[in-house]
């Protein structure tokens, strides 16, 4: 697949519903260690709600799909991840507005807009032990590889997201609930970084079909 069409976007979001359903306990366990044991439930609840909207989105432009996903996440997830992933899709929607397919460059622009929205809402940066430790390196890797096309760029992005997420383990959290732990937050993966890596991984799976 060289372009991501609206069918694929819907397939991606549907896959995310499944992925977060499966990873619910895993993400919650991570959150129990340095947070409040709800990240898995939050993501599962949000993307299950998104999944119920997808049939009605068949044939809509990708901007509309992203916006619907954004509003659904905003009104069902709550917590920190709700506004963050909500803002991600909301800003990604502005780039995808009116489009029925996204080129590799479009996907890069959407990721850029979405991830910047996460930065501006959460005011975190790389090294703060948040989802941005996965998302920002992934964005950079994607942009570097975008000339090779959608799937190769996504492959690089996923690798970078996974490495970035793994890199959160030794970090002391500076943002989010884990920051209350200070030094005791070190030694644990950040749940949001893991859920972000899953998000991109599912996109790669979808685009590879």
């Amino acid at each position: 697949m060289t372009e991501l069409d609206s069918k694929s976007v819907i397939a991606w979001l549907r896959l995310l519903g499944e992925v977060y359903g499966q990873k619910k306990d895993y993400l919650t366990d991570l959150d129990a260690a340095i947070g409040d044991a709800d990240h898995g439930a939050n993501m599962a609840r949000g993307f299950a709600a998104v999944a119920t909207k997808l049939d009605a989105l068949e044939g809509k432009d990708i901007g509309t799909i992203f916006k619907t996903a954004a509003m659904t996440l905003l009104s069902t997830v709550g917590g920190a991840s709700g506004p963050l992933y909500g803002s991600f899709f909301l800003q990604a929607a502005t780039v995808a507005n009116g489009k029925n397919a996204l080129t590799a460059a479009d996907v890069g622009a959407a990721l850029d807009a979405g991830i910047k929205a996460v930065v501006s809402r959460g005011k975190a940066q790389v090294g703060d032990k948040t989802m941005l430790d996965a998302l920002l390196p992934a964005l950079a890797a994607y942009q570097e590889a975008v000339v090779n096309g959608l799937v190769p760029a996504l492959q690089k992005a996923v690798e970078a997201a996974k490495a970035g997420s793994a890199s959160t383990q030794p970090l002391i959290a500076k943002k989010g609930r884990a920051s209350y732990l200070g030094e005791r937050s070190a030694g644990h993966l950040d749940p949001g970084a893991e859920s972000s890596a899953f998000l991109l991984d599912a996109l790669l799976t979808t685009a590879s079909k």
Binding site: T28, A37, A41, S75, G78, P83, Y180
Partner: protein
Amino acid sequence: MKKLINSPENLVVEALHGMEAAHGDLVKAHFEPNYLVRADGPVKNKVALLSGGGSGHEPMHGGFVGKGMLDAACPGAVFTSPTPDQMYEAGKAANGGKGVLLIVKNYTGDVMNFELASDLLKADGIDVESVIIDDDVAVKDSTWTAGRRGVGTTVIAEKICGGAAEDGLSLKDVANLCRKVNAQGRSMGLALTSCTVPHVGKPTFELPEGEIEMGVGIHGEPGRTRMKLKSADELTAMLMEPIISDIPYKSGDEVLLFVNGLGGTPLLELYVIYRKAAEIAQAHGLKVVRNLVGSYITSLEMAGTSITMLKLDHDMKKYWDAPVKTPALRWGL
């Protein structure tokens, strides 16, 4: 996990139904999105107070909706911030024309969701002020982190600002009073046992016999340190020390002392703690002129306690004493 519930999914909605059934004279429940408002609201020409947060901290916040306290409360899923659409609808329903004060506990999720709600309400032309409560001295304060958590001072701020709003103060003035309460309030808590989040089904953390979590958060977030269980007097001193060394005060100042149960600790024990906490405050030259003892900001069934101290001024005392009629806090009415 042993809980008196039907299912984790329906817990919050069923409890809202129960609250409305029990306190229909005081509160009205709305569903999809979920929120509680004063049964006699919106109150014309009164600043509306709106708060909210994850469920599992009852009676906070829903139990504080009513005359003299909150106009609306938004319950999220257990331990999860509510969403902007809830706050937006609740804010519109509660607004009596004099604007809405959002009282937000300082958790990243709550702050971001309330920010979005504030934007939505402002877009409708409603005056909005937000005050962030961050009183938990267990957490190191720093501009580089998420800062301190919002805990017990929230309850006190909702009562005092509720009194001020009934008294006719403007949105700006109520908000400034709320900021002052936050600036003069400090809290710290400890846990003897974990709580179990219903949809998780197992305890958030393991706390072996003989150990406690000092500085625990109300969502079961780990605190300053894991340590050996000590006597009530020793533990009370360990909670009071960081509060007193952080709170701005001078000898002779008047304070409100709030000894809170986290859910699973009997009232009998809270009074043992209150006794020692009041003694310690007095030994520092503080005059304990107001108090609250009970489980008002809880962490499901967690055993433990938190202490909140607020340095009072004339207005705070006046508005603390003002009549209040809510499901969980009531006097003078």
